[in-house]
């Protein structure tokens, strides 16, 4: 063993490697992405790793490996599980041979997600066990145990960290390489009664699964990561009856422990590491003798409902407080300040005094914006310019380009989920046929979930223009490769899957690839596309500024500049600033994309080699 400073996701990945994982598949999504990237970086010869085209593919690839006796890990963010829910719900009935861990990162807040859905509910819904780590160290150890449980019980298991575990760093104890387990897959053994799902098999296995989960509830009551911490009350004095309890899991448990000090009425604590199957007998031991319990958890009241159920089932006279009783917030993440407030009122403590500072001057808000030089800005601006004055709808999608909604671009009218914009545009067109319908989709999202929507549009004779924002990477999640990049996570260089060829193969007649930074050509292409019938596509192709060397920063000739601020008002590039009343370009941010130069009415912007002052 040795100590390393690891991000939670890296700890999970290193734990999986130490458990001898043979195959890892996933789709990028904050806050889960670094887990698979770390596997790719540290994998042993035993491990195959891939970014799959979407979460459904990843889940099925991992299932196939686990059918063959391999240890498999599949990674995604919570909304990705919605995409993978079809294989998930059937896989539950079939089961696996090799250990299979489904890593799903939840995002209370939400900080970088569309929803605050709770994967613990997916765990109940799919009847699969769920592991919920409360620290980076525990995540490292627990994922190794999750593989053991999965293999022992022949079922996939969920591993569900939240953002504050995934993205926390901690100095933790990790195994040396010679301590790693090496797992050998024994191969796929044909057995149609096991691997082919039929109604009869599902009925038989359903009964077995329900019985297994009752058994697991008992097993989990003895599992060391579930625990009653300080049965007599943490920090409690001898002979003092403990009447109050706190139940928590994940980061909420860590925040709770950080906030307790040697108070007289210190509570008993239930740590829940497996919210499903719930450790019922352990919970009974926790509840016995208590008058009141406060449940501190994020997202849905999962632990709270279990405790209410158990209290009823065992006729325990205890009040359970939490989200359902209005004692804790129903949405958002648990901050240290919130948890402190919950504990103050539950334990009757005097809140710590706040520093009495006067209100500060207004602090500028900093909403995230498209980077300086981002080609998406040029693409949006080209469509906006070409369609000025026309009745339009601009359906957006998931990626950096969702930021095209910000002023002054204001070019995202809808955003729902991966690939949805293509179909929403069709629905709007059906309702308002005189609307020029546009859907914007990134290159990675195109491969993940846009192709079927375009086939739907062509088959059903919709009228729309698809704008593919091809920046040659999966930018939002940190530049992962995808089928169009010609690189894999195993480091191979492979042939690129052509977006243009796919679109032509579907039957689109208007498919043009244009550099959006050439503004006139880009505007012209959009105008021509919008005037044609049927489904048209423009591929705006220009690489993400973060993956290529920038061009020389542009400067503004102050003698020519008339101060009209058109460059600022039209495109909102963070590289253009006002210093002492003069419009200037920040040389540290400008990538020399040239978009602003093309719309300056007096041609004051250019590469002049000056310092921009």
């Amino acid at each position: 063993m040795h100590t390393e400073f690891l991000m939670g996701n890296a700890a999970i990945a290193r734990g999986a490697i130490a458990a001898g994982v043979n195959l890892v598949a996933g789709y990028p999504g904050t806050p889960s992405t670094e887990a698979l990237e770390t596997v790719a970086k540290y994998r042993t010869q035993d491990t195959y790793v891939e970014w799959s085209v979407n979460e459904k593919s990843a889940m099925e690839v991992a299932a196939g490996a686990a059918y063959s006796g391999a240890r498999a890990l599949v990674t995604m963010k919570q909304v990705g599980l919605n995409v993978a829910s079809d294989p998930l719900m059937s896989l539950e009935y079939v089961g696996v041979k090799g250990g299979m861990v489904i890593l799903v990162a939840d995002d209370p807040g939400p900080i970088s997600s569309q929803t605050e859905q709770d994967t613990r509910h997916y765990s109940y819904f799919s009847k699969l066990p769920c592991f919920d780590p409360s620290s980076v160290q525990e995540a490292y150890e627990m994922i190794q145990e999750a593989f053991e449980f999965s293999e022992k019980y022949g079922t996939p298991v969920f591993f569900r960290p939240t953002t504050r575990i995934c993205h926390a760093y901690a100095s933790i104890e990790v195994k040396d390489e010679d301590e790693y387990l090496h797992h050998q897959a024994d191969g796929f053994k044909k057995d149609t009664s096991r691997w082919v799902i039929f109604p009869r098999l599902s009925y038989d296995n359903h009964k077995k699964i329900e019985a297994r989960n009752v058994e697991l509830s008992g097993v989990f009551s003895e599992y060391s990561r579930n625990a009653v911490i300080a049965e007599k009350g943490i920090y409690a004095k001898e002979d003092q009856p403990v009447k109050k309890g706190i139940a928590a899991g994940g980061i909420s448990l860590a925040l709770t422990l950080d906030n307790l000090s040697e108070a007289a009425d210190a509570p008993r604590i239930l740590k829940v590491a497996t919210p499903h199957p719930f450790p019922e007998q352990l919970a009974v031991r926790f509840l016995e003798g208590l008058d009141e319990v406060l449940v501190i958890e994020e997202l849905d009241p999962v632990i709270e409902k279990e405790l209410v159920y158990i209290a009823g089932k065992y006729h325990l006279n205890v009040t359970v407080k939490g989200k359902l009783t209005g004692d804790t917030e129903t949405a958002g993440e648990n901050s240290p300040n919130l948890v402190a407030g919950y504990l103050d009122s539950f334990l009757g403590r005097t809140p710590a005094g706040k520093a009495d500072l006067p209100a500060p001057p207004p602090i500028p808000v900093r909403p995230p914006v498209l980077c300086a030089g981002c080609p998406h800005r040029a693409s949006f601006y080209a469509v906006k310019t070409a369609m000025k004055g026309k009745k339009t709808i601009f359906c957006g999608d998931i990626g950096c380009y969702t930021l095209g909604n910000a002023m002054p671009l204001d070019m995202v009218d809808t955003c729902l989920c991966m690939g949805a914009g293509i179909n929403i545009a069709q629905g709007v067109f059906r309702t308002e046929p005189d609307t020029s319908a546009f859907a914007f989709v990134g290159d990675s999202t195109f491969f993940a979930s846009a192709i079927t929507g375009i086939v739907n549009a062509v088959y059903n004779q919709a009228e729309m223009t698809v704008i593919i924002l091809d920046n040659s990477t999966t930018a939002m999640t940190g530049h992962q490769p995808h089928p169009g990049t010609g690189r894999t996570m195993m480091g191979e260089v492979v042939s690129k899957v052509s977006i243009e060829a796919i679109l032509k193969g579907i039957g689109l007649e208007f498919v043009e690839t244009v550099n959006p930074l050439e503004l006139d050509k880009a505007v012209d292409a959009v105008k021509r596309a919008s005037e044609q019938k049927g489904v048209k596509a423009i591929i705006f192709k220009s690489p993400c500024i973060a993956i290529v060397k920038p061009d020389k920063a542009l400067t503004i000739d102050q003698d020519k500049c008339i101060g009209c601020k058109r460059c600022i008002k039209e495109i909102g590039c963070p590289g253009i600033v006002i210093n002492d009343g003069k419009v200037c370009i920040d040389p540290g941010l400008c990538t020399g994309c040239g978009l602003c130069a093309q719309l300056c009415p007096v041609k004051a912007i250019g590469a002049m080699g000056g310092d921009g002052k």
Binding site: V136, S171, I251, P336, N337, A355, L357, I363, P364, C400
Partner: protein
Amino acid sequence: MSNTVNKNIVLCGVGGQGTVLASKLIAAAAMEKGLRVMSAETIGMAQRGGNVFSNLRIGDSMHAPLLQSGQADVILGFEPGETVRMLHYLKPGGTVITNCRPVKPTTATLTGSSYDGTEMIAYLRENLAPEKLLVVDGQAAIDELGSPRILNMVLLGAAIRTGEIGLTEDDIKKAMDRLIKPAFMEMNLKAFGFYRA
């Protein structure tokens, strides 16, 4: 649990200013001394020009990486407005080290806001004891050293020399040896030593 003194540090600024590396260097230096470290950072969409922060905790008696208001021993601010935004984390008697040069957000440019950071520095001076506030002109260092990428080292050096972080210049330099590419070492060392109060 232990009598090791906890240090809680908040680093804050704007995406791209290098707060993460500064945080990593403090963590690595503390670990080298056998101390436990936890941190939490802004990752993802907010990094695109948004405000970023890092909570860093050093010591033994902690469970979560996140800080409550009034718990930070030190706030190391890379941008004056962001320093003020995070000031609620400072514990009574805590120390603030801040850059005085603003990063103007795109929204401020669009709305014609007059934000220039001076109002933030004035607010800090009004509300902190003089010996608990160190204002560093990061731009002066950038201009003199000729690189916009060394702001983090300038501020880290200034912060370490206050003694409030509990680590020495040598502790950090050893960590730099391990975490910074040799080609960038000379520039980073110069920046680290640049500001002397």
